[in-house]
Symmetry: C2
Subunit: 255 residues, 2 copies
């Protein structure tokens, strides 16, 4: 069985709360969630979201951002668990890299190099899964193939989102951030020309300022914005999620 | 006659349009404008705005930002003409510095050093005028002395706003941007601890990136945000004015 064959796309659960419908789905080995407006969902734009490392499709950040995007933007929002995340099996390679990260963190050593290397590897596995998921989502009558598609992912969601956005012409706007400059990743970012918004933390204890600024600089997008906030890596202000909603409203609801 | 005596504060004209009341005022030699909500203005927070070099209190940027702040934030908004601006008399010193700027621009030479020097001089004249204007505005019954005060100024509005905000404890939040790093100005910025939002243009033909970033870095504010956008010096996107309104709503309408 091909794990990314859209014929194997199934909804597995549905709940509704506060005007937002949440569907869980599987597509072969891939597990995901889709949030949609309870009314007015027909052919609304779709925002794909990538979660951070060690996290999963229904982490609080994903659920909170999805609710804002649905309630304030009227979008469909889809998240899939990255390989080795959200209960998906880990390979020996995954286990080895995760152990290396944990050792570096415990020793107070810089983790950037390991994260960049491991997330680059995960991106190679995740990009085809994302593209097949997008195929399947666009077969749903309430989404369709005509509407614009956005991508929103920070941390590992950026490491996967940059190659995905570079490879996927259906994605026409993206929000990235909180990731390191790396020659290979920047080379990929230089192929991205769609409008982007990029977030970084001025006092990030893991990502040096010049590294975050250089990754933002790499995007070839004529229209790009950088939002820097004071605070540590995990202190991204909540209002940046609202800013992302407004960005997608500007970009995906252009007449 | 003391040109900054609040006893000499007079309204000279009043117009109302789209729910916004615009008052012109004079205070001694200083000319200004005050925009207020037609209803619900009582004791609303006050935002002071500084205009850019060569501009004046009712330039399109000032009127547009004032209308947004009144309509979307319910604020009072006041602008005064900087010394030598908006019909106010120029000194010999003003004429000499303006001629030097124009010569540099015509020759395609960097203007930063002249602008920084001249705007620093203007700030010394403008700060006491601003403080006296604030005294007078707070004597108006619809403003009063209890409400919070913000400051919003880019370009020369930042060169004047940084020393004003550092000197004026009544200002509790500020939006700055589009100005050069300078040792003296940065020294003043290091005394500012109130929340700030700071805008810079990534492709600014006048202000080098490291210069704008270094000025942002200088503020001692625990809570500070930087908004960078692609584009040249004069291409600041309109949505940054909406962002400033949201910033002041967050900061000045905290319960």
């Amino acid at each position: 069985m091909n794990s990314t064959d859209s014929k194997h796309f199934y909804f597995t659960a549905e709940t509704t709360s506060g005007g937002v419908v949440q569907h869980d789905f599987t597509m072969g080995e891939v597990t995901g969630a889709l949030w949609s407006p309870e009314t007015g969902a027909d052919r609304a734009p779709l925002v794909l979201m990538g979660h951070g490392g060690g996290n999963h499709r229904k982490s609080p950040a994903m659920v909170g951002r999805a609710q804002r995007l649905v309630a304030d933007g009227g979008f469909h929002v889809a998240v899939i668990d990255a390989p080795g995340h959200g209960g998906r099996p880990r390979t020996e390679h995954d286990e080895r890299e995760i152990a290396a990260m944990q050792r570096a963190m415990a020793a107070g050593e810089p983790v950037g190099e390991i994260v960049v290397r491991y997330n680059g590897h995960l991106a190679e596995r995740a990009v085809p899964e994302w593209r097949a998921t997008l195929d399947a989502l666009q077969e749903l009558p309430e989404i369709g193939t005509e509407g614009p598609v956005g991508y929103y992912g920070l941390n590992m969601g950026t490491a996967i989102g940059i190659p995905l956005t570079a490879a996927e012409p259906r994605i026409t706007a993206a929000v990235f951030g909180l990731f390191w400059y790396d020659d290979a990743l920047a080379e990929t970012a230089r192929r991205i020309t769609v409008p982007i918004e990029f977030a970084l933390q001025w006092d990030d204890e893991h990502i040096p300022r010049p590294s975050g600024l250089a990754l933002f600089d790499a995007f070839a997008s004529e229209e790009k914005s950088l939002h820097v906030n004071s605070g540590a890596h995990k202190e991204l202000p909540r209002f940046e999620a609202d800013s992302a909603v407004r960005f997608f409203v500007r970009q995906l609801r252009r007449s």
